[in-house]
């Protein structure tokens, strides 16, 4: 809004070309931003089961298999006189190519992984680095442009109204900080491009000479010009994933086989993750309700597969301490009698989904998990036929009514509801 005021003023005072140029720059910035956000950064599809089995066999032969999970598997490769370690990705079941990294936010291995940009909402990798660079470069031009004209505006206004008044009305401070940060970022990435490094490598100091005397970047082409051309004008490989295909829901593994798993495509797989989580959370609630007279039996930190099939509706296996990540561990559970028509659920996936890769990003699913656990069931999509309701008590009543056999468990409902309210108020 300030800008529109500025624009009008400047268009009248100086030349109408100013807002036109600004508009063009802005459209370019928006275009590159969208391109960065929506293009596949270079996701590596997960290995097919046959491949994974073949690799496992090779590794077992090499190691002499031990029972428990063996130490992280690495392969060493010599590239241009530099020894590079290739790590095995347990999620994707492949040996990562050099410069690839697994992003825990996108839950994919990405080729030439630079970083995961939260502003763009996508990983920046081999296929969209040039768009990202053009985005920040054009954005820095735009911010400098705006800043210059904000200054001009202040100067012009201050002739009329006085310097301090003009300063108060203009967004100069915000502009200044934007310019500083964006131009700084552009400068940093210009340096990275000219030395053919990724942000990941630079932060870790993989090729810095401080690590060793002969440490050098094996991927650099030698001179700055070639490096820049290669990064910005080099061939653009096509996407290796099928982003428009349908996910085949396969065995209890969460990962869809070769399907698109970009940040936006991830909503599809993430939704299936979330649904499993939600089922899990639902089951927890049922368990908590049923265990309203808490018989504090046991509590362990091992994840437990909680299955309650519709047919038998019988007792759960002996140790029924249920653990989800984080907030649930402190809740004591007794021996619950599960509802008769609960769909069969497996909760081990919730904990399975916390990848433990050497990556500094926090896993976002933990937060929704923590968040969801104490939310009323109206937030949760399953089970079907639930009416969203304000009060947790009323809601859990209807929920229970659809699942429990009401006649025999009315008193238990009351207690369990009270118990649930108590627990959720913790």
């Amino acid at each position: 809004m300030q800008e529109s005021v500025n624009c009008q003023y400047l268009a009248l005072q100086l030349t109408p070309a100013i807002p036109v140029i600004g508009g063009v720059l802005f459209l370019f910035v928006l275009g590159t931003l969208l391109r960065t956000s929506f293009s596949d950064p270079g996701v590596l599809p997960r290995a097919t089961p046959d491949e994974a089995a073949d690799l496992e066999r090779q590794i077992d032969v090499a190691n002499g298999s031990t029972g428990y999970r063996p130490p992280p598997r690495t392969k060493e490769v010599v590239i241009n006189g530099q020894t590079v370690k290739l790590k095995y990705c347990f999620t994707c079941k492949i040996f990562r190519p050099p410069r690839a990294s697994h992003c825990s936010l996108c839950d994919n291995c990405v080729e030439r992984f630079d970083h995961h940009c939260p502003w763009v909402g996508n990983c920046v990798g081999r296929r969209n680095y040039r768009f990202f660079y053009m985005f920040i470069l054009s954005l820095s031009f735009l911010t400098i442009f705006i800043f210059a004209f904000v200054i001009t505006h202040i100067i012009l206004r201050s002739h009329q109204n006085g310097f301090l008044k003009a300063l108060k009305e203009s967004p100069v401070v915000v502009c200044f900080f934007s310019v500083w940060s964006i131009v700084g970022l552009s400068g940093f990435h210009t340096y990275l491009i000219s030395s053919n490094q990724t942000t990941n490598e630079d932060i870790k100091g993989s090729w810095s000479s401080k690590r060793g005397k002969d440490n050098h970047n094996p991927y650099s082409h030698g001179n700055i010009f070639t490096n820049c051309c290669a990064a910005l004008c080099g061939p653009l490989p096509p996407s290796l994933i099928d982003r428009r295909g349908f996910i085949q829901s396969d065995t209890p593994q969460l990962a869809p086989p070769t399907n698109g798993i970009t940040m936006y495509g991830a909503t599809q797989s993430q939704q299936s993750h979330m649904c499993d989580q939600d089922q899990c959370i639902q089951s927890t609630k049922f368990v908590l309700q049923a265990a309203a007279t808490p018989l504090l039996q046991q509590q362990s930190s091992e994840p437990v597969i909680l299955t309650a099939s519709p047919e038998n509706g019988g007792s759960l296996p002996g140790r029924t301490s249920l653990t989800l990540a984080g907030p649930c561990t402190s809740l004591p559970l007794g021996q619950p009698t599960p509802p008769t028509s609960t769909p069969s659920l497996s909760c081990h996936e919730a904990t399975d989904m916390l990848p433990i890769h050497g990556h500094s990003h926090t896993h976002p699913l933990q937060e929704p998990l923590a968040h969801h656990h104490f939310l009323t069931p109206e937030e949760v999509p399953s089970p079907p036929g639930m009416l969203p309701c304000g009060s947790p008590m009323g809601h859990s009543h209807t929920m229970q009514a659809s699942f429990f056999n009401p006649a025999s468990q009315d008193s238990l409902h009351e207690d369990s509801v009270r118990g649930l309210v108590k627990l959720s108020s913790v």
Binding site: E51, R112, L236, L240
Partner: protein
Amino acid sequence: MAETHSLQDMRQQAAIAAKVFLQRDYTNGTVCQFQTKFPSELETRIDKQQFEETVRTLNNLYAEAEKLGSQSYIEGCLACLTAYTIFLCMETHYEKVLKKIAKYIQEQNDKIYAPRGLLLTDPIERGLRVIEVTIFEDRSLTR
């Protein structure tokens, strides 16, 4: 009687005895190259020279796709200037080479590998991680 097996028939009739995977070779950096080491499971089925020739040709084709030359630079700059809308009309150089590779693999399968009960899978279908060679059961032995 001379029977001609089409690839479709082979897949339906023959059972898969084993699958061999040729992994990527990273000694030249991140360029797409596959290891030319001859797998031991194929020793009885195909000539070593023939197989290595196939893999070497594939490697050359992939190198051509990723080559940094004046052609790729011109294409890159042109694409940038047209805001990448030019790719609505034409294919990238990489995609053209991938089509060439697909054709080459099809041709090799038809001429050389199918008669020997083998099938090469295009690496692009495996995310450019491996060349998958499917070994079918050798029916000729049972006759």
